[in-house]
């Protein structure tokens, strides 16, 4: 029973070994010139410490939320399209209802000015 999991265990050990070897090699042969900036948790120059209630542009946030919303809802089209022929008129009507509800949200967002940048 447990023997069935042996390949997974082997894979796990190999993965750990490989990762360990790569890190060790880099550690041994790689050049190192540490500066204060480089030793920060995020090397990309992002300041990890600061006030918690920082001001940030809310525009991006809004766009991201709207994107996720409509993106995921449009994903429903995909499985529908695959079995469209099997569903027939029923599927079409269901999808039209779905699009109508989506459209309500779209018109609302548009009219509220969420799609305008300034």
């Amino acid at each position: 029973m447990l023997l069935e999991y042996l390949p997974i265990a082997v894979l796990l050990i190999l993965a750990l070994l490989l990762a360990g070897i790569v890190i060790a090699l880099g550690h041994m042969f790689g050049p190192r010139h540490p500066t204060e900036r480089k030793s920060m948790p995020y090397e990309s120059g992002m300041r990890p410490i600061g006030p918690g209630t920082r001001r940030m542009p809310v525009h991006f946030y809004l766009v991201a939320v709207l994107f996720i919303l409509f993106d995921i809802e449009v994903m429903f089209f995909l499985p529908w399209a695959v079995i469209y022929k099997k569903l027939g008129v029923f599927g079409l009507v269901e999808m039209l209802i779905f699009i109508a509800i989506l459209g309500v949200g779209y018109v609302y967002v548009w009219k509220m000015g969420a799609l305008e940048w300034e």
């Binding site: 009507v93 309500v104 018109v107 609302y108």
Partner: protein, 490 residues
């Protein structure tokens, strides 16, 4: 399913269909209503609720299932829908002037309210755990937004965040329970869960754990101890009109789901679950009532009172597994929910009438007990409504609260749990202290209460208070109506 089936099924749940479409249309119509005339939106929303109410009542007596057994339209769903629609109407009535004076009037408020009610009606009709979950989300998500609609008031934001995080957490519990029940029985439909359990071959420990997790998830929604922590903060921070609606609607919907799931699907597990329900009910009654004594803020006090009342209703659920008492469990819980709805709105309408001085960033005022001093002399009508509400909360005749508590206790004693009934009685006695304290402040202390004279608030407070008294006289036919709402497998 063919197109024709779809139309037939949509017709079967016509009140819900209409309300959903109405809410969608209203969201669009509201965009073209100028800012200073949002009263039109409120009116249209109320109109939609009235149409749905008429449809629900005209179809009372129909018992059928729709959407392949996902939904059951029966007396139970009808009774609960009436409660939800009435609380929606009252929710709009107490909100209208309050939103204007707090400067948070938005058309979306009423639309979200409608969506939430659709979720509640689906919840009462759902006969499949997946459907219950969808309804739970549909009723909760609008409430999360409504709790935070008073941005940038920090307490409203805090309430919304707390409610959202803990609500999402509770949904997780519910889903996990559903998964375990599915794993044990191979189905999420209530009818098939029960048939799989009785025919044997089911892993009972998984089923019990699943049922327990479902109980936890819904316990969060109805705020029973120990899942009540969010209630005082959320009830206090959310705009009072939202709290009034939430305290009634969300609780009633949670109990609707609990009743249907437990009475229909889990009677075979009664041996294991009854002690758990017993403890939940006892702790909820004791802790809710005892902590309420210490509250000086009326919103917090009513929050703990709502926790205590969840305990009383939970009490009826304890003997759910006994075939001869189960009908009384449902009937008395439904009756008490009706009594609680009317009483609660009477109290909250008065609270909203006294709330004042809400500038931006400042704390709300008019919410401490001292602010009620002298209300009896200055506003006898409002004080009378509040008194009726407090008496009904304690369970003193002639109020609906008394009759409701009588039926609850009768169910518990019938089920063979006199100890729990005793705890219920004693905690009611304890609750008299903090409820009557409000009455003492109103009539025996002098003061200059600041009261808003807003017609709809007055109307709601008085109409519900009169309802609490008058309906208690006609409680017999009302209880018979609730008794017809027994849960049966179709």
């Amino acid at each position: 399913m063919s197109l024709n089936d779809l139309l037939v099924n949509l017709n079967l749940i016509m009140p819900i269909t209409i309300l959903t479409a109405w809410a969608c249309v209203l969201l669009l119509v509201d965009l073209f209503i100028p800012k200073e005339r949002k009263g039109i939106t409120a009116l249209l929303a109320a109109l939609g609720l009235l149409v749905a109410l008429a449809l629900v009542i005209s179809r009372a007596g129909v018992a059928t299932s729709a959407f392949n057994g996902m939904i059951m339209i029966d007396g139970f769903a009808t009774f609960m829908s009436v409660i939800f629609l009435f609380s929606g109407l009252a929710g709009i009535a107490v909100a209208y002037d309050y939103l204007i004076r707090s400067g948070i009037e938005r058309g979306e408020y009423y639309v979200l309210l409608l969506f939430s009610i659709v979720g509640m009606m689906l919840m009462a009709a759902a006969a499949d755990l997946i459907m219950v979950f969808l309804a739970l989300e549909l009723l909760s998500i609008p409430l999360y937004v409504l709790a935070g609609i008073a941005v940038p008031r920090p307490d409203s934001e805090e309430a919304a965040l707390k409610y959202f995080l803990l609500g999402a957490f509770a949904s997780g519990f519910f889903l996990y329970g559903t998964a375990l029940v599915y794993g044990a029985t191979g189905s999420t439909a209530l009818t098939e869960i029960v048939s799989a359990t009785t025919s044997g071959g089911v892993n009972l420990s998984f089923l019990v754990i699943g049922a327990g997790l479902i109980l936890v998830g819904l316990g969060f929604k109805v705020a029973v101890v120990p899942f009540h922590m969010w209630t005082p903060d959320v009830y206090q921070g959310a705009p009072s009109s939202v709290t009034a609606f939430m305290a009634v609607g969300a609780k009633a919907a949670g109990f609707a789901a609990l009743l249907r799931i437990f009475v229909l699907a889990f009677p075979p597990l009664a041996m294991d679950l009854t002690p758990v329900l017993w403890a939940l009910a006892a702790f909820t009654m004791i802790i809710g009532n005892v902590i309420a004594i210490a509250q000086r803020n009326i919103k917090r006090m009513l929050a703990y009172s709502s926790i205590a009342h969840a305990g009383y209703i939970m009490m009826a659920l304890v003997p759910y597994g006994q075939g001869n008492v189960a009908a009384d469990t449902v009937a008395s819980a439904l009756f008490y929910l009706l009594a609680y709805m009317l009483t609660s709105f009477a109290a909250w309408a008065v609270v909203i009438a006294l709330e004042h001085n809400m500038g931006e960033g400042r704390d709300t005022d008019g919410l401490s007990l001292e602010d009620y001093s002298g209300l009896g002399q200055k506003q006898p009508a409002l004080a009378a409504a509040m008194t009726v509400a407090m008496l009904s909360f304690i369970g003193i005749p002639p109020t609906l609260g008394f009759v409701g508590k009588f039926y609850l206790l009768r169910t518990v004693i019938e089920g063979g749990f006199p100890g729990l009934a005793l705890i219920g009685l004693l905690t009611s006695l304890v609750s008299a202290y903090y409820y009557l304290r409000v009455v003492v402040y109103m009539y025996m202390r002098d003061g200059e209460p600041v009261v808003r004279r807003e017609p709809w608030l007055y109307f709601t407070a008085l109409a519900t208070a009169v309802g609490v008294v008058v309906l208690s006289i006609f409680s017999e036919p009302l209880f018979n109506w609730a008794s017809q709402a027994v849960l049966k497998l179709i």
